[in-house]
């Protein structure tokens, strides 16, 4: 999302999820993870920068409340694995931090804010390949806005948000933006 979109989103966007809703859907996703992983024994959460990392940290806190166990959480920067690198100027790299015990044989849950074309997740799967061999990989997203370009589906979805390609979805989180909200706005034609 470029600067233009962001300004636009802030001016005439309407919120579709507010702070308490976000907390509620994250609690639900945490319970779903525990249920599907039968206790979350070997779960490792990897957030995709920037906002996926904050969501992963919040999910880890909730999982710890539920299971009474420390859940390893890290971040996975996928910039170097993108398939559109040659279409834009290079981006500054974000942090990749893999928990100390690695991901071999673990259940890795990738966490991102918005699921759109699926290309970010494809890149994330490639990046994981270079780091280790998880037992299984699952995907948790706050918002699924549709328009997939690859056969990728999330395991845990906070909110399904059918959108048009003329709309933008902007997730704001307290850690980065000072407040929790998901905004749906119209994309300005340039």
């Amino acid at each position: 999302m470029d600067k233009h979109d962001q300004q636009d989103t802030q001016s005439d966007a309407r919120p579709v999820l507010e702070g308490p809703d976000i907390a509620r859907v994250l609690t639900r996703i945490a319970h779903e993870i525990v249920e599907r992983a039968k206790g979350a024994d070997d779960v490792v959460l990897l957030g995709i920068p920037t906002r996926g990392v904050f969501l992963a940290q919040r999910l880890a806190a909730k999982l710890e409340e539920i299971t009474d166990r420390k859940i390893p959480v890290g971040s996975l920067d996928i910039t170097m694995y993108r398939d559109d690198l040659r279409m834009h100027p290079p981006r500054a790299l974000a942090r990749t931090e893999i928990p100390g015990d690695g991901i071999d044989g673990r259940l890795v849950v990738l966490v991102d804010d918005v699921l759109f074309s699926g290309r970010t997740i494809r890149a994330a799967l490639d990046a994981l390949n270079d780091i280790g061999r998880p037992r299984a990989v699952q995907l948790a997203v706050l918002v699924d806005r549709g328009h997939r370009e690859l056969p990728i589906r999330a395991d845990y979805v906070g909110k399904n948000l059918p959108t048009s390609l003329r709309e933008t979805v902007k997730v704001q989180l307290a850690e980065e933006d000072g407040r929790d909200t998901v905004l749906l706005g119209a994309k300005q034609t340039q």
């Binding site: 920067d77 040659r86 279409m87 270079d130």
Partner: protein, 325 residues
Amino acid sequence: MQRHLISAADLTRDDAVLILDTAEEMARVADRPIKKLPTLRGRTIVNLFFEDSTRTRISFEAAEKRLSADVINFTAKGSSVSKGESLKDTAQTLEAMGVDAVVIRHGASGAPYRLATSGWIDAAVINAGDGTHQHPTQALLDAFTMRRRLIGRDAGLGQDLSGKRITIVGDVLHSRVARSNVDLLHTLGAEVTLVAPPTLVPVGVETWPCEVSYDLDSTLAKSDAVMMLRVQRERMNAAFFPTEREYSRRYGLDGDRMARMPEHAIVMHPGPMVRGMEITAEVADSDRCTVVEQVANGVSIRMAVLYLLLGGNEPAVSHTRIEEK
């Protein structure tokens, strides 16, 4: 659109910090079991070495291969260059092969600039050392090593070297490492002092953004880093100093001198070291000497430069000063 790295003087402070920060992330790749990224897949990079330099060439080659580029090594020895082919002809041959970047080392100062600006070739040009002029990736890896050691690996992110005092000792006259470092360290806010025998200080040094001293002992106590330069025997075609022993006594770094440096201060050397002359074995093997680290950091810096110049459809590093020329 310019997409070259010719001189450390072309980099702005923000560009230099971006390169150092990117290199910090690249260094993490080196800690992984699989040290490879698909970023430059399908790009062809030529290492065009008109002058021997195993160290720099394999460092670039490692960086290029870790980013999955296709690498062609070209050394002048035994090539058409030794049969009399000009730089222009070589460039046009590479252009015809569809090369994306050329890493060039040349004995003549200005050869990379000529290659980048003459219109012979569209590829990105990265200077890997030209004559006594510049060696920008060496300066970047030195700055990276200083930032890591003097500020810290994570604490250093986004930071420059403001307030750090760096002393560069030795053959400044013939040293492209010294020139590049003075330019870059000044851009990053550090105070640089050059220490050399008067015969090995270049004419016009007073226009450089640094201090000059002929006395090593008086600068040691206030240095955060002391960078020793190699005495380039191959360039000592005139009597620059009386004897090697005399040089070593006045400008060599030994254990006594190292003890007079502040506790946190580091000793650097671009390699290869001539032990016993500019540096004693005791200093070279101490924990404060960063020579081996500098080699490892060189790969990370070169990966960062290649990513920022070639990773997208236009370079992330701006080169306003080159464009003005």
